[in-house]
Amino acid sequence: MQQIINFVIRNKTFLLFLLLFSVSLALTIQSHSYHRSKFINSASALAGGVYGTFNSIDKYFNLKDQNKILVEENKRLRNELFNLNKPIDTSSLDNIQSRLNYRITTAEVYKNSYSSTNNYLTINKGKKDSIKEDFGVISPKGIIGIIDNTSNNYSTVLSILNTNSKINAEVKATNHFGSLEWDGKSPYLTQLVDVSKFAPIKIGDTIETGGQSAIFPKGIGIGTIEKFETDISGDTYNIEVKLFNDMTNIGTVYIINNLDKEEIINLESSVDD
């Protein structure tokens, strides 16, 4: 017993180092699975507050760019609005019906990162604004990510520029779907994998969200095909997608709450049983 105590006292620095290092390592490993530590993230009041203070300064420098983005979106929406005079066919009627099932909240981005391999954004809406985990986040140009952690006033968003992110997406022209991932290299390119090699795709085709997940509505823009190649297995395509969004400059985002999500998930889980 004496010897054990002596050993601990003699090596106390090393043992403490080992303890602290393994704690951090355990947290790191845990963070590489989808549901992460609930305690240490920038949705906390401290981090959110600090970012909020400095964001109000930073915002002024980006006003011009953000205005341009909003004007472009307005232009697009006006285009759609004026072209709505056409007789509405039944398929688009169906669309309008389904759009009513989503509730949109706007939020400001307090922190954005894109230089790491696992990027998160911090936004200024949280539980008080009934934001919950797994809501979708989009910008005027395309998708941003999925809500990961929420506190009372802030939330973190798992960016599509995160090696843990997996989002259902499809080729707009042919409806062949795959899974959108990121290899951690360029913030302008993401990868769409597992697309059937029978899909007649070509460079420049538009990629948008598929309707398979209950998180995003179908048809939100993601990007265009930059290049593609067949997978090593030879059965699927790996597609490089050039994002519509400039992920390095995001000011205002929309949070999408699919009001039918619970129903869809219940239905799907009952099918699994």
Binding site: F21, S31, A47, F54
Partner: protein, 168 residues
Amino acid sequence: MTSFSGELSLRFIALLLVQVVVCNNINFLGYINPYIYIVFIFLFPIRDSRIVLLLISFLLGMLVDMFSDSVGVHAAAAVTLAYARPLLLKMSFGMLYEHQSVKFSNTDIGSLITYVGLGTLLHHFILFSLEVFNISNILLILKKTLFSGIFTIILSILIIVLFSRNKK
């Protein structure tokens, strides 16, 4: 033991704020960020207990982690740097460290660069290995370590030199 004095806590908070508000957003060439908060670990008083240094480094790393949503990565790297510090000091200052008479304010600049350089590369290598967490991306890890490291070394030396000359 002169544990956590006023000047130290001020330095702690200042470096943390500059790190998360300014340095994390530089993104030079898309991915190069300096991590200057390790200056705190470099400049921690040499005579103070190593246990205290380890604990404070862990806290500092965790706070940086909290702000950048990278759970545990910075903490692990900071704790490693804090643990390896005596070795680094011995390698770069030699006899001066043996006699416990290293003063960062008036050392010879060569030793200082060796000390900060080795420490930064060690810290950044651990940091990016854990962040990328994929051994097949070793080239990406090395690239990030090298470029961010150079950036950090330059800024750290500047900070150390500028702020210590004032006090003389």
